[in-house]
Amino acid sequence: MNWQMTETETDVLVVGGGAAGIAAATTAARNGARTILVNAGPILGGELNYGAPVDGCLTARGEWAVGGFARDFFAACEKYDGYIGPVCDYRALNLVCIDPEAAKLAAIDLVSRADVQVLMYTFTDQAVVDDDGRIQGVVVRNKRGRTFIRAKTVIDATDDGDIAVAMGCEMMVSDAANGSAQSESLLFRMSGVDTGRLLDFVKSAPENFGAMEYPGFAEDAAAAIAGLVKQGQPKVLLTSDGPLLRDAVADGRMYPTSWVAVSPTSTARREVSIHTTVVPDVDATEIAREGVAFDSLHEQISMCADFLQRSLPGFEEAGLSAIDPFVGIRETRQVVGDYVLTGADVLSGKKSEDGVAKGCHELDVHDTAGHRRENVKDGGSYDIPFGCLVARDARNLLVAGRSLSADREAHSTARAMGSCMAMGQAAGTAAAMLSEPGSVSDLRGINLAGLRTLLKEQGAVLDGIS
């Protein structure tokens, strides 16, 4: 192995290649900054590749709340035959369905065409900070050895604020992981689904399916079900309020869970993603950050696939088609920024002159008090102020994506992948502005009006919707 430390220099360093990171890197590079993107895994796109629908792109009222990079990303998915588009769940949300396999190609396509220098399979080791509280860069480690990447601006798009932590920035760590909410998300895909049969069943046995929480979708629950059926997409939520799932759990054909969400991923393959939660049968302290849960969850996947095949009409001929890496129990670690987005901001649909991105996903928290879900006021959107992306304890560290500065409630909506892409675009644009010759070197000095104008010119949605 090569032990020596090499050094390289760039304008913008983006760490983390998920929804936020690919948006940030692509945007920074498109705006003229020399950009390096570092990602620990073997592929770009993070959870965009896992088959869950992309939330946070359209409000419940049906208006697009994100543009720019997110729309480019969807266009790239379409280029790789993998765009289904907006789908309504007739419960609370409009979401965008994509083929996660196309998403993998789309992410690489966009990032590489923007001339971002990508380092995959690369782990971050240390943040280098000067006496002024400026981050000088990050030391990364891969098979080549150790490299100090010196950067004018660093964007922390790691899912956990790893760079902020390494710098010693103050973090908000929620106690969710210590509460009762130790459920694990299980996500896999099945192909060969007969949507017609599935929807016929939804029509004939609607009591099994979730519908109608947001009043704007239909007059009543029956009309919502009718809408779901008419839409013609395999987008349904099987809930344990109905006999099908409840009985299966009761007699042990299914592990205990309150819902199974079905979402389309590919029309050509007649494929859907299946998303449920499960309480793992291993000691939670064992499920360390390293992802140990993988070996303990496979039985549940087989069990759930069997249950669907045997019991849910439309799945008779369907088979397991893909399993993605487990995400592990999600620690919720937020960076403390100049502004902390709150649940009240979100629910009231608060607009802000400092808004650089928009969120619109429902509030969705599991805690000791149970599971709470609530739509943004009037099915609209809220603004994410620039301060949510600026680490309070640093001068030139931006955060984007899941580790944004938000309280627990606000976080549960702003973490949606659509909002992550919007935040990424905002962070990437701001970082590119800082790298222009003669620019200020502290994020606080940035011309916010200029940033907003540039974002809007590049397709971002910042105003003009509910």
């Binding site: 620990a40 073997p42 190609l105 065409r113 782990f123 390494a166 360390a288 390293e290 140990v292 087989s302």
Partner: protein, 466 residues
């Protein structure tokens, strides 16, 4: 990325969870050693998860030359419906075709049953040595740095990272910057096997067939047998009219092959192995990452090509890429002994063999170039323990792609069936030297007859075949 260093100890630590590493970890754990398997990625299984078939499990004559761990894994896979079949390709080899998605479940299940512990998303950063011993490795992950000490270390990293880090000598590619190409395997769903085989029957000049003299069969006979098998396992060759025309006209990138491999029990999903970027040193992470855009362009190019030009694919849809870039060749660690190309080609047997190989020497080059030479008389060769013991390090074994071999021998021994056999051998040897409880066990001190007996009693195949 915290600054503290935590510590854990195990009897045996296996680095790398590919085909060699999972076999090594399972063998060590099931033989009683407290065993930890560390991998940099989010899943275990390595290339077993990419869709390529497991080669080297049977020799050309159709005798099984690998058993033990392979059998347990394949039994698990059968129960999960993920075993497609073992059959002769009527070119030169027997292949074991598997469903890579169900393989993810089978690998996790097997490791759990055998009691191996897992540490994922963890990169081996440093190797701590004391004289001729490795005393520990330091891994880097989201929890920071962990020092892992052990009695025996097994380097199954494909690249020999740990052995190299401990100071072992190694060879790389041809020594002059030539490396076998890296590839991105991908999948297509909805293939019409009947039409594909009709095409093969009517246009056999496009197929690689009867490449092994030992077969003593005409191309026509081989073709008849292949069609009679009924699997979508066809090997389109670059010098056949279909591919050579498309390559010449620029419709398809230059490549030596387009191998179609069945990966689902209903034979409607296939993997395609065709894309390639040659002469990249895959331990240069920047260079490896930079191949990604060309690889995905080739993937899309190839899927469009088969849809348009290869009957049976008219209705087929792109169904995803492998979890990571496939790497054929990086470092070969210099061991106590070095497997010689002549021994491989001459099917040389040895009293001290601990694993068997039988795959033809298969060295891919740039563009359309590929060297393929069969093992004599459709037989197998033996791999002695010395090829798995890095010279000068007394408590380390290597298995898999980084074994000690010359470049020609490596072209055969690198396949997954052989990697599994080597893994089981070193894993078992490691557990045996730990059993005696002597301080500072030396891997090469394992009594060979006892090791061979143990391996055979646990299903390994060491004798009695051609």
């Amino acid at each position: 990325m915290s600054n503290s260093l935590s510590h854990r100890h195990h009897d045996v630590v296996v680095i790398g969870g590919g085909s060699a590493g999972i076999a090594a970890a399972s063998a060590a754990a099931s033989n009683g050693a407290d065993t930890l398997l560390v991998d940099a990625g989010p899943m275990v299984g390595g290339e077993l998860l990419s869709g390529i078939p497991i080669d080297g499990c049977l020799n050309t004559r159709g005798e099984w030359i690998v058993g033990g761990f392979l059998n347990s894994l394949l039994d698990d896979l059968k129960k999960m419906g993920g075993f497609v079949g073992a059959f002769f390709d009527w070119r030169t080899i027997w292949v074991v075709c598997v469903d890579p998605e169900r393989m993810k479940l089978a690998v996790a299940h097997r490791l759990r049953e055998d009691g191996a512990k897992l540490l994922l998303n963890s990169f081996v950063d440093e190797v701590v040595t004391d004289g001729d011993r490795v005393t520990g490795i330091v891994v880097l992950n989201k929890s920071g740095r962990t020092l892992i000490t052990a009695d025996i270390f097994l380097d199954c990293s494909g690249d020999g990272d740990v052995a190299a880090g401990a100071g072992a000598d190694y060879q790389r590619g041809d020594g002059k910057g030539v490396f076998q190409p890296v590839s991105m395997v991908f999948r297509m769903a909805g293939v019409d096997t009947g039409r594909l085989l009709d095409f093969a029957r009517d246009h056999p000049d496009n197929l690689a067939l009867g490449e092994n003299e030992w077969l003593n069969k005409s191309r026509e006979e081989c073709l008849r047998e292949l069609i009679a098998l009924g699997y979508p396992k066809v090997f389109l060759k670059a010098d056949g009219p279909l591919m050579s025309k498309s390559i010449a006209e620029g419709e398809l990138y230059p490549t030596a092959l387009l191998a179609v491999i069945p990966v689902s029990a209903d034979l409607r999903v296939v993997a395609i192995n065709s894309t390639r970027v040659a002469n990249v040193d895959a331990t240069d992470t920047g260079a490896l990452s930079a191949t990604m855009p060309s690889l995905i362009d080739q993937v899309w190019n190839c899927q469009s090509f088969v849809q348009k030009r290869v009957p049976g694919f008219e209705e087929a849809a792109f169904a995803g890429i492998a979890p990571r870039i496939g790497i054929r060749e990086t470092r070969r660690i210099v061991g106590e002994e070095t497997l010689q190309g002549d021994d491989v080609l001459n099917a040389v047997k040895r009293d001290d063999g601990v694993a068997k190989g039988g795959h033809h020497v298969d060295v891919h080059g740039d563009g359309t170039d590929q060297l393929r030479r069969p093992v004599r008389d459709g037989g197998s060769y033996d791999i002695p323990l010395g090829c798995l013991l890095p010279k000068g390090i007394e408590n380390m074994g290597v298995a898999g792609r980084c074994l000690s071999a010359d470049r020609v021998a490596h072209g055969s021994a690198r396949v997954m069936g052989t990697c599994i056999a080597m893994g089981q051998a070193v894993g078992t040897a490691a557990a045996m030297v730990c059993e005696s409880n002597v301080p500072k066990p030396v891997l090469g001190d394992v009594p060979l007859p006892a090791l061979r007996d143990r391996l055979v009693s646990q299903g390994a195949i060491l004798d009695g075949t051609h």
